[in-house]
Amino acid sequence: MDGVRDEWSELMAAAQGGHGGAYRRLLGELRQWLTRYYARRLPPALVDDAVQDALIAIHQKRHTYDPARPFRPWLAAVARHKWIDRLRAMARERTDALPDDIATGDHEESVVSATVLRELMGTLKPAQADAIRLVKLEGYSIEEASAATGQSGSLVKVNIHRGLAKLAAIVRGRSDDE
């Protein structure tokens, strides 16, 4: 653990000098440490926000770390400070009972549609699926789809036609089943 601490100290010293790679690595390791730290102290829903708050605080106050001293007490002090801030914020927030009419229309239909479509496209040949996805779902022209897929313009049209016919058949078949 001491080795880790020393390494963090060195990484932070490098970060203070502007070394982005060292800083990226340090923040990545600190993120894990902070996640464990806040997971023991905050409700699960608040952990991610607290980790990000702490990462931003570490970034903004990185000049206050003295590389001649151990890194972990500095990190723990910053993490604790942000934790207390978070607790104060929680105390200030009002907790209201949810009204009965809070329910709104959901996105179930869209989500189901997207999932079903992905599943249906998976039943097509790759060339047909690509042509339909590019032209019918993403709005590219036949020429653009042709350039993107390497198919000729005529073949793109044929694949769209055959693919859609197959999809229609599958959907009809499913409807019948249901």
Partner: protein, 213 residues
Amino acid sequence: MTSERLIETLAAGLTPVRPRRLSRDALLLGAIGTVELALLLMLGGARRDLATVMMQPFFWWKLGTMAVLAAIGLVTALRSFDPTLSPRPGLRHATVAVGAALAIGWLLDATHRSGASLAARMQWRDGLHCMTVMALLSVPMFAGLAVLIRRSAPTDRTGTALAAGIAAAAWGAFVFTFACPHDDPLYVAIWYLAGCSLVVLAARWLLAPMARW
């Protein structure tokens, strides 16, 4: 934004920073204090009988009290700019120092009992003037500490603000000691305490929010 994305953003925008040094901050505050005191003395702000009163214990009690309080306040504030250090022990030391100073002042007063009435010793008009000047003289140190607080990472906002307030107030009073013609311990205890309390209160309300990060 995910944490991974945040880390990428922070690392991509990384710029070199100069690590904070307590000695550098102390040097800045020392320079502010020295310039202020030098200006007061050079511009003729010192009391005319300074050479004479320097032989009196009252003057040294007044000067010593303010010097000790300013030193405790400055050291406490500077240390508390580090997130790992708390200002609370320093604040306790300052409280003890105030108590000790009042006790010494009471002893001095008892040994040199003045025959004047309480109202005469208080000198309300002069007292209010002293309080105002003292507060104004604390402004440069107050401003210097405010700048340092913004740059630092104190974890006890109120404690740091109070320590900074004590430092600024006591330094303002220390400088004023060279100009103030009053040495009566009762006068000093009342009006200097009031003037310093005013500055500490201002620090509590103005500097504590600045210590937020």
